[in-house]
Symmetry: C2
Subunit: 303 residues, 2 copies
Amino acid sequence: MATVLAVGSVAYDTIETPTARRERQLGGSASYFAVAATPVVSVRIVGAVGEDFRQADLDLLRDRGADVEGIARRPGRTFHWAGRYHDDLIERDTLATELGVFADFAPEVPASWRDTPYLFLGNIHPALQLRVLEQMRRPRLVVTDTMNFWIAGQRAALRSVLARSDVLLVNDSEARQLSGRRGLAEAAAAIQALGPALVVVKKGEHGAILFGRTGLLAVPAVLLPSVVDPTGAGDAFAGGFLAHLAAAGADSGSDDTPFRVAMLHATAVASFCPQGFSVEGLLAADPPARAARLAQLRAMMTP
Amino acid sequence: MATVLAVGSVAYDTIETPTARRERQLGGSASYFAVAATPVVSVRIVGAVGEDFRQADLDLLRDRGADVEGIARRPGRTFHWAGRYHDDLIERDTLATELGVFADFAPEVPASWRDTPYLFLGNIHPALQLRVLEQMRRPRLVVTDTMNFWIAGQRAALRSVLARSDVLLVNDSEARQLSGRRGLAEAAAAIQALGPALVVVKKGEHGAILFGRTGLLAVPAVLLPSVVDPTGAGDAFAGGFLAHLAAAGADSGSDDTPFRVAMLHATAVASFCPQGFSVEGLLAADPPARAARLAQLRAMMTP
């Protein structure tokens, strides 16, 4: 089985929706990524948690097929984010961000993991993403996520990361912010000029667009009858995306074909995430359910 | 050549964008519909204009292949809408709505036109749409447009129109308003229960979704390098949609296939509309340009 290394947050989230509230549920980019990717590939997680982190949550990730030896337990509290979703279950307000042990997180890739062929750089400080890149030995494929906060405040470090990335995942407003261009095709081209040969622009309920070397692919989102908790869907998308690429043996020199197919897997897997709190929606989706959703997505795209 | 009858506004629009201003340019739902549809089918327009309406604009529609004998010239002024687009060229403010002769427009379908097989009911008062339906002799296919204003204020008349429509075209917020459902698939199903076997939900720059009898099709919008004036794109979409269906000989008993293909034609044709003021973008798109854009759209949808 192919192996992917994921660096990112392992966190506790307190989530309020119009109808429910969940306190300190398992969250964080590396958690969502790993649960989305693990049935297909094995995932090595590099992260940090505090003394309050529950053994049951480590067990959940391990039982799923993730290697959690790279999750350092440190004195202090686990990174905690609290947010409240609006009625549309899209807009949200941040109620609290307590960095805890994440405040001085300095990722350390275990020596035996440094030749992992596939690397996911979750949305953390670009200087830390760079630190991980420097520890790795020539990964076959580097997929990077980032956010508006780093684009605004850490542009130089982010550019160094982009220069060494094969794929950048961003949402539409981040693509515009990073490039200074309004049109998404022009924004993607400007980002490609900074390094990544491929740019994926995520648009939430409106789907995602891959800008590749030789063309683009627009994939709609699966229409869901109801949304429980949309937190983590972007990271689950990344997990489905890189899992397919790793399973297919793609690398930075591949043509666009495996990346186009990976967009479908990413969208199909991510669609389970909002159907439950925390990683529950993803955990409930067994391989037949995933295959059915992939077929549903293909039918939605076929005239 | 197949023939389509279109009922709607023939108007003058004063448009302000962040970089330009155009005064009293040709607009209105029937105009955009006709210019989009006419290279493929012939269009009979039923509408009304005032004494100020320029002969050159009638000539433009006629030269394009539209039959304008159903456009009544009445004492008074042509319907005039003025709007200002925001920087994103999506949001807009209405600056003026002067109904003019449109205030007491009562569509009268010429006797020789009443057996036209394909009918487009543009976005006018549902009572007037109903009046047209009552004048027609069993059209093969009825495609209906409406808007938030009629959904809020003329629900009973609108329901009578929907009961006799095969396809309803609405945008996403209108679909939610009409159905009272947030999920688009649930909203479309609720609308289908009111009459139309097919519902097209338009999402602007995010594309459009067809909800058919046996499945759905999501079509992305073509990505444009720049937008000049987005006015009329929805009516151009309707023109491209119904033109393909009429050319293909579809009727209310057809399976979903021609409607799915019509979504591509509609999207490809509509994409030219925002590239110029008034109907200029549509006029500039010759058949090879349309075919190239259709191919571009198919490539965007093919993994």
